[in-house]
């Protein structure tokens, strides 16, 4: 018998009763039967529990400002459309005064014929003379270097934007066409939270406004490796000089790598045999390098990362502590995301299998609650690790696993606890709280940045604390390392 013709009239009646769809007479009749039949009451309770479970299974963890955001976007989008339509209407009705500016839509108003002819003629002369002059002074065009592209100029001297000001890029510029997924329309700026939101979570309204688009981790990893992009983000939501501090710190950390490729939690001025290597310290330090775009295959600190990754791959499978194992998995996943394109198929497969195995172990441990009781941070690292492996394309898709943790109101001063700072900043970003994030990020750069000594390291009791240093760097990187 198929379920379609397996209707039980009594079950249907119970359903109607739970839903409140029965007439008073039907309800009274059913009540009498329920009173007399305990099995029917149990069936009703089972049905109610089942329906409740199904209802909650689809509840979405929208953050508290989702409604406000959606409303603002809808109104903003409609108003822009209406404004454009109105301008278009006005321009089509315009007569011939010499108001011949350019409209947002790119159409010229109808100027007096002679004025237009004069303007075209002058423009043509300027272009030709300018071109000849440039040829004479500079000779042939320089090769297309990244530093020649518009993004680079954003962080330089007089062209640097004011803090918090939006910086547009010209989508018609051929160089920008190659600039990747962050190219956007000058006349149609995106909120900063959209700029930093992983692609697959962008609202479709914003998605349309990107001239090109790449999803999730691919875009995030690209940002890490793009110095101009990082500078753009710093200009938007950061503090000038932060990138340099991070670079300085990374150089100092690199100098303290052990001969085996690992890092100790605390280390004297140079790596010594007496330093105790640690999975947690090595993974955390690695994340700082990976956050800045270096991987085991590419980047400024490629050799440092490659050695540390090799050490970590050997240690991670036997690591018991959930937080340590999760940090190791996270670092290995991020290196995989950054470097997979340069791996041979065999290497790629081996690394993917390692990640899958680590991920399963972490998910199982987190599920079974074998983590240290109350170790919320361990759960958070586990969650990040599982999500990172999914983002790396290994194993089942669990995009929803990376939850947005409600941060509540922004604390008056940012967390000065480096261990949780990165998580808090990432929560603000993932929660779409771009403005709050910018405030947090600038305050964090000030408070945590002050922990770094002139050598670029956090010094505790006269000794360099490498793990703490890396955590500070991770917090300073949040704006461009989050995915």
């Amino acid at each position: 018998m198929t379920p379609q013709n397996d209707h039980n009239p009594l079950s249907d009646l119970l359903l109607e009763s739970i839903r409140g769809e029965l007439s008073p007479e039907e309800a009274a009749c059913l009540s009498a039967r329920l009173a007399a039949d305990p099995e029917l009451r149990r069936e009703r309770d089972r049905l109610a529990a089942f329906l409740g479970a199904v209802a909650t299974a689809h509840a979405l963890p929208l953050d508290g400002r989702a409604g406000e955001r959606a409303a603002a976007r809808a109104v903003d989008r409609v108003e822009r459309e209406e404004s454009r339509a109105a301008r278009g209407q006005r321009s089509s009705l315009a007569g011939g005064p010499l108001d011949g500016g350019r409209l947002a839509g790119g159409r010229l108003r109808r100027p007096v014929f002679w004025a237009r002819l004069l303007a075209v003629s002058v423009a043509a002369h300027v272009i030709v003379l300018g071109f000849l002059g440039a040829r004479k002074v500079s000779g042939p065009a320089a090769p297309d270097r990244e530093s020649d592209r518009p993004f680079t100029s954003l962080a330089q001297g007089p062209e640097a934007p004011e803090e918090g000001a939006w910086v547009g890029t010209d989508v018609e510029d051929p160089a920008m066409a190659q600039a990747g997924p962050y190219a956007f329309d000058r006349d149609d700026p995106l909120p900063v939270e959209d700029l930093l939101t992983p692609g697959d979570r962008l609202p479709s309204t914003s998605r349309e406004r990107f001239t090109s688009f790449a999803v999730g981790s691919a875009r995030a990893m690209w940002v890490r490796t793009s110095d101009p992009m990082k500078r753009l983000i710093e200009a938007r939501v950061g503090t000038p000089g932060t990138l340099e501090r991070v670079q300085h710190g990374l150089v100092a950390l690199a100098a303290r790598q052990g001969p085996d490729g690992a890092f100790a939690e605390r280390a004297p001025a140079a790596a010594t045999a007496g330093s105790v290597s640690s999975v947690r310290a090595t993974a955390t330090v690695l994340l700082a390098f990976l956050g800045d775009g270096s991987s085991s295959r590419d980047g400024t600190h490629r050799d440092v990362v490659a050695k540390a990754i090799a050490w970590l791959r050997a240690q991670a499978p036997s690591t018991v502590d959930l937080a340590d194992r999760s940090l190791a998995c996270l670092a290995l996943a991020e290196d995989f995301m950054l470097a997979n394109g340069s791996m041979t198929p065999a290497e790629s497969r081996a690394r993917a299998l390692e990640l899958a195995s680590l991920r399963t172990g972490i998910a199982t441990a987190a599920r079974s609650g074998t983590a240290t009781p109350g170790a919320e941070a361990a759960d958070r690292w586990a969650e990040l690790a599982v999500a990172a492996v999914a983002r790396a394309g290994v194993g089942p898709s669990v995009a929803a696993a990376l939850r947005v943790h409600p941060s509540g109101d922004l604390p008056p001063s940012p967390a000065v606890e480096p261990r949780t700072a990165m998580l808090e900043g990432a929560d603000l970003l993932r929660g779409g709280r771009g403005d709050a994030f910018a405030t947090w990020n600038r305050a964090t750069a000030k408070s945590l940045g002050a922990k770094l000594s002139g050598d670029g390291l956090v010094i505790l009791d006269g000794t360099a604390d490498l793990e703490e240093t890396a955590l500070v760097l991770l917090a300073l990187q949040v704006a461009y390392r989050t995915y």
């Binding site: 089972r46 929208l62 409303a71």
Partner: protein, 197 residues
Amino acid sequence: MTAPDPDAETMLRVKAGDVRAFPELVERWIRPLASFFHRLGADPSAAEDCASEVFYKLYKTREAYEPRAKFSTFLFSVARHHWIDVYRHSRIGPVTVSGDAPGEDGGAGGTLVSRLPAPDAAPSGAAERAEVAQALRAAVAALSDEHREVFALAQGEGLRYQEIAAILKIPIGTVKSRMHTAMALLRDRLRRAGIEP
């Protein structure tokens, strides 16, 4: 005489030019709408996108709004049309997971549906609850479009059969029939997996 519909009144304020009334409406309905799209098969981010698009359409056409039916009926009609236009026809988006699929451990713990707890089972952790929820979603996703649609509106959003009939433009008897069939299919599916739903 029908009771006044506060949401319809709010929408009329929006129509009259009170922009500040619009966020109230969005705040009230964004979660039910997103959940509705999620029940229909959109992943969480696509569901939120869909809800945002519905509000955009709502605001764009605010001047044409006439409170001919309950606001929820009107809103879910718009939502349903959006779903049909964007998703069902363009075949974008919803990736359904079979309840018979293995779990994240490769199947060692059984299929997703087989992990559904007995009704009196106590949840043993957030991760487990999440996995159970995933199995339930898989079971709903396995319904046909027409059954899932009725189920989503009836059970998810708590709309009355009469409202659902108005949204889907089908007789109320058909709504009941589809709902009962959906329930029978779901319960049968779980029962076959050894669970008493």
